[in-house]
């Protein structure tokens, strides 16, 4: 485990190169997330931000480079191994299990856990965080509204009691009001001690809650800075809007 001042590195990508067939998607991506931080990765369509997230999770395997999580190189480990060691994801478009009940969806979040008491405590905590889910425990996930599904996806991810919560496009497909609620929730979860790494297109929204941000463009990290600096960075607007 490397230390940077008083901060502990939870996740580090080192010179990641990823290909889809002949297409070079990630071209030497390196980034770092410290324990307790809320970090966002910004980028437009097809910039490589979702691939970065999938590489962290092990859905996509990099051709070269290292993924170091909690001091351990895990780039060759399957997704399950990474989840077991403390990663959880709220996928793009939420990906709720529509024909399973809300309760079963939450149970799927704790799929790799065996500590019954701990699971029960987290279950109660999450229902406290999302009272709406408590009312709908036995309803099918697919019958929930968009906002409720977002809560369920978040609750499902938290059921694994993650060290690192990965958020893939949390603003995607939600009404503006819900987007705001959702970001407040992410901030709240982070303030309660969960490290968050978020991939997002909505730069203003993401930077308003993040500590730091990276900007990825056609598979390369082009900017990395404190969120407040990025917010008024002229280059960001260029990088971001320049397609």
């Amino acid at each position: 485990m490397s230390n940077n001042g008083t901060k502990t590195t939870l996740l580090r990508l080192e010179d990641i190169n990823t290909y889809y067939g002949p297409i070079h998607i990630l071209q030497g991506v390196s980034l770092e997330v410290f324990a307790g931080e809320l970090v966002c990765l910004l980028g437009g369509n097809a910039s490589g931000k979702s691939t970065t997230l999938k590489t962290i999770l092990g859905i996509v395997k990099p051709a070269s480079g290292r993924v170091v999580f909690n001091g351990e190189a895990i780039q060759n480990q399957p997704t399950g191994y990474r989840v077991e060691r403390g990663m959880a994801v709220v996928p793009e478009n939420r990906r709720i299990f529509g024909s399973m009940s809300v309760l079963e969806n939450l149970e799927m979040g704790a799929f790799l856990r065996h500590d019954r008491d701990g699971i029960k405590a987290d279950f109660e905590r999450i229902l406290g965080l999302f009272p709406r889910l408590k009312e709908r425990l036995h309803q099918l996930g697919g019958t929930l509204s968009g906002g409720e599904q977002q809560m369920l996806a978040m609750g499902r991810a938290l059921m694994s009691r993650p060290k690192l919560l990965l958020m893939d496009e949390p603003s995607m497909g939600l009404a503006p009001k819900l987007v705001e609620q959702n970001f407040e929730l992410i901030q709240q979860v982070n303030q309660q001690g969960t490290t968050v790494f978020m991939v997002e297109q909505n730069a203003n929204m993401a930077l308003s809650i993040a500590h730091r941000g990276y900007v990825v463009q056609t598979g390369r990290i082009v900017l990395a800075d404190e969120a407040k600096n990025l917010l008024d960075n002229e280059q960001l607007r260029k990088a971001y809007l320049g397609r």
Binding site: L57, I59, P78, T79, G80, V83, E84, V89, P91, N93, R95, F97, G98, S99, M100, E104, E107, M108, G109, F111, L112, R156, S160, G173
Partner: protein, 318 residues
């Protein structure tokens, strides 16, 4: 005069109806067990496993082998119940393993290919198994010696119909297996993982589900049920041969589509409906139309309700 002409076939119909229902449920139990494997595999892989009927045939032969091993000339070595349970268990285990092997060699390498590729591979496996059995065991019919285990006269006279012990065995065994399956899918961790993979494979993987392992289990369970169906067929209809899986596989497929492919209760329902329909056609029209019924049912379902009786609407991928 007039009433007699109309009344006579009607009387026969009513008199034989209960017996036809019993016969239909027997056949339906077998179809339902086959349909379950079809539906489960389709659920997790969106693959029509056309080798499934041949796994069923192998199950019938394994059951035959076990039966012959335990019934020498001198008579059964154990109590009939034990021999029947052994036949079922060995056939289920054997077929389960066969299912896993088929998945590993014929489907896994094609997991990310266009959907037509594993379909062709499935047909190839089907031919391979049929020919392998024909080559090693010849194309002869074999006969289960069920009468050495269950007296042909054994059964219950219900008054309006007779439920023979063999038919009762088939129906009860199938229902017990379905209840166990339902429990497994609804209540266990593995069952939950299977459902999650069927709904969204990648999202299930993101929760830490080992998708490959779930697929292996699905093939094991589906194939084991087909193996049980093969043994039950042998016990009640006695004749087995290397080509029996072809028609049975198509019937199982039809039953799965009728119930809604990918839907477990649907496969059970579809199996029983198809068994009843076929038996009624034989009993009340003509045995010539036995196989026609299944395909007429299939065509009607595909025309009028392609998602089947209990099937969900085809999910829209966003």
């Amino acid at each position: 005069m007039h009433t007699q002409e109309v009344g006579k076939p009607m009387d026969i119909f009513i008199a034989t109806l209960p017996q036809q229902i019993i016969n239909g449920l027997t056949l339906g139990a077998v179809y339902a067990l086959i349909a379950l494997g079809y539906s489960m595999v389709y659920g997790v892989l969106q693959l029509l496993n056309f080798a499934h009927g041949d796994v069923y045939m192998v199950g019938a032969f394994i059951g035959y082998g076990v039966m012959m091993a335990f019934i020498p000339e001198s008579g059964p070595l154990f109590a009939p119940v034990i021999i029947i349970i052994l036949m079922l268990l060995v056939a289920m285990l054997g077929c389960g393993v066969l299912g896993i092997v088929i998945e590993q060699f014929a489907y896994r390498p094609l997991r990310n290919s266009p959907r037509i590729a594993p379909l062709i591979s499935a047909l190839g496996v089907s031919f391979f198994i049929q020919n392998a059995i024909q080559l090693t065991l010849t194309a002869q019919f074999r006969n289960y010696e069920t009468e050495k285990l269950i007296a042909p006269a054994a059964g219950i006279d219900l008054g309006f119909a007779r439920l023979s012990a063999t038919r009762a065995l088939v129906i009860v065994t199938a229902i017990v297996l379905m209840i166990v399956l339902q429990y497994l899918i609804k209540r266990t961790r593995l069952g939950k993982a299977m459902r999650a993979v069927a709904i969204d494979r990648e999202a299930a993987a993101m929760m830490g589900v080992n998708v490959d392992r779930v697929i292996i289990f699905t093939f094991f369970i589906g194939s084991a049920l087909a193996g049980a169906a093969g043994v039950l067929t042998g016990i009640v209809f006695t004749r087995v041969w290397h080509f029996m899986g072809f028609a049975a596989g198509l019937k199982g497929f039809t039953a799965a589509v009728l119930g809604g492919i990918g839907n477990i209760p649907g496969a059970m329902l579809g199996g029983f409906i198809l068994g009843l329909a076929e038996t009624f056609a034989v009993g009340f029209i003509s045995a010539t139309y036995k196989d026609v019924v299944a395909f007429v049912v299939l065509i009607i379902v595909l025309l009028l309700r392609p998602r089947g009786l209990l099937g969900a609407r085809i999910p829209q991928k966003v």
